[in-house]
């Protein structure tokens, strides 16, 4: 990566809810990442976990955000984006605290932003179809979102629920204004597209989670699909009505 001038600052936002068994490994994997010309800072966001996640985080780092009340994944990640904006980071990467996201892909994830090719980069499990592919029910849901988004926006995102993404400065500013609270990932794609941001997907290999619970139980998958569909539809109408400006 040939960067002209000074090095870029990258913030890795790690939303954690009851991840006491995973967070140490996640932070260790991030510490081993080194990219020339890039300063990396990991920022765990404890979303009022009921277990000892906060204690674990405190043992490992002094840079973290501890939310006083549970806001859900969207609110936790947005807190991280607000931190990135406040502290003038160039790129923010969302990196799940459950150990599913591969730290060694971060270099590839931020590369299109460093080269000014795109504003948002999403790590997709389905481009190369390698690694953990999720359950059949979830894949069905992800395919459904793929067609829904393609039908409405004309763009194809193979893994719209992937939380492994990198945002550039312009996008960070946008999501600080508005970011959905629950199940934000597919809805965020609609926001990015309607704000004329360039989205790129790169293939990544993800693992199955090692311990703890996913934020989406299989029993609430139907609720997830309905909620996200409504969210996508309403954000689409709202942004179209606003003449494609910002989300609020």
């Amino acid at each position: 990566m040939e960067q002209t001038g000074t090095s870029k600052n990258v913030l890795i936002i790690i939303p954690c809810y009851n991840e006491e068994g995973n967070i140490a490994k996640v932070l260790a994997s991030l510490r081993s990442v080194s990219i020339p010309g890039v300063n990396i800072r990991a920022l765990p966001v404890n979303d009022s976990s009921k277990d000892n996640t906060l204690l674990e985080i405190k043992k490992l780092t002094s840079v973290y955000i501890n939310l006083p009340i549970n806001l859900g994944i969207g609110g936790a990640v947005q807190a991280g984006y607000k931190y990135a904006l406040k502290n003038n980071f160039d790129i923010a990467v969302q990196f799940d605290g459950d150990g599913q996201h591969p730290a060694d892909y971060i270099a590839r994830l931020i590369e299109p932003i460093l080269n000014n090719e795109s504003n948002v980069v999403i790590g997709s499990r389905f481009l190369d179809k390698q690694g953990f592919q999720s359950s059949a029910l979830r894949r069905f849901g992800i395919n459904y979102f793929k067609y829904l988004i393609k039908f409405m926006l004309g763009v194809t995102v193979t893994d719209s629920t992937s939380g492994f993404r990198a945002l550039d400065k312009k996008t960070i500013r946008l999501v600080c204004d508005y970011y959905p609270d629950t199940y934000p990932e597919p809805e965020a794609i609609v926001i990015y597209t309607l704000n004329a941001l360039k989205i790129k997907e790169i293939p990544v290999v993800m693992k199955d989670r090692e311990s703890g619970q996913s934020s989406i139980g299989s029993f609430s998958s139907i609720y997830y699909m309905i909620k996200v569909t409504l969210g996508i539809l309403f954000i689409y109408i709202r942004l179209k009505g606003n003449g494609k400006r910002s989300a609020l």
Binding site: Y64, I65, L67, I69, L71, G75, D181
Partner: protein
């Protein structure tokens, strides 16, 4: 014309709506109910009072609207008012939730900043 409202129930409605009005006023005075939310309740009570005193009122309004069974108008109005108020509460709830989220984030960010200064 036969009255739809007999005397006993008229007395009951007058007393009932007066007590309700008193209850609302007490809540406002004690600071347990904000004025902006009390307006809707005061309007409702006034409506109740008007029809409690104006004996033929319900009958006349029902005939005017083409409602054959006058008491049904009472239920219709009441249910409509309740639904509107519930939507109103949902809107307030959504607003509160957003404000709470912003506050929680701001609070956490400030705490993180303090930590950085201490370190």
């Amino acid at each position: 014309m036969e009255n739809v409202v007999p005397y006993k129930i008229q007395l009951l409605s007058i007393v009932g709506s007066l007590l309700f009005m008193l209850f609302i006023f007490r809540l406002i005075v004690k600071g347990k109910l904000r004025e902006e939310y009390s307006i809707v309740w005061i309007v409702c009570t006034l409506f109740l009072m008007v029809f409690a005193f104006w004996r033929n009122g319900l009958d006349i309004v029902a005939k005017l609207l083409g409602v054959y069974y006058a008491p049904a108008l009472v239920f219709l109005g009441a249910i409509f008012a309740i639904i509107i108020f519930l939507v109103h509460l949902s809107v307030i709830n959504s607003k509160l939730q957003k404000q709470m989220k912003d506050l929680a984030q701001e609070h956490a960010l400030l705490k993180a900043e303090l930590q950085k200064k201490d370190a």
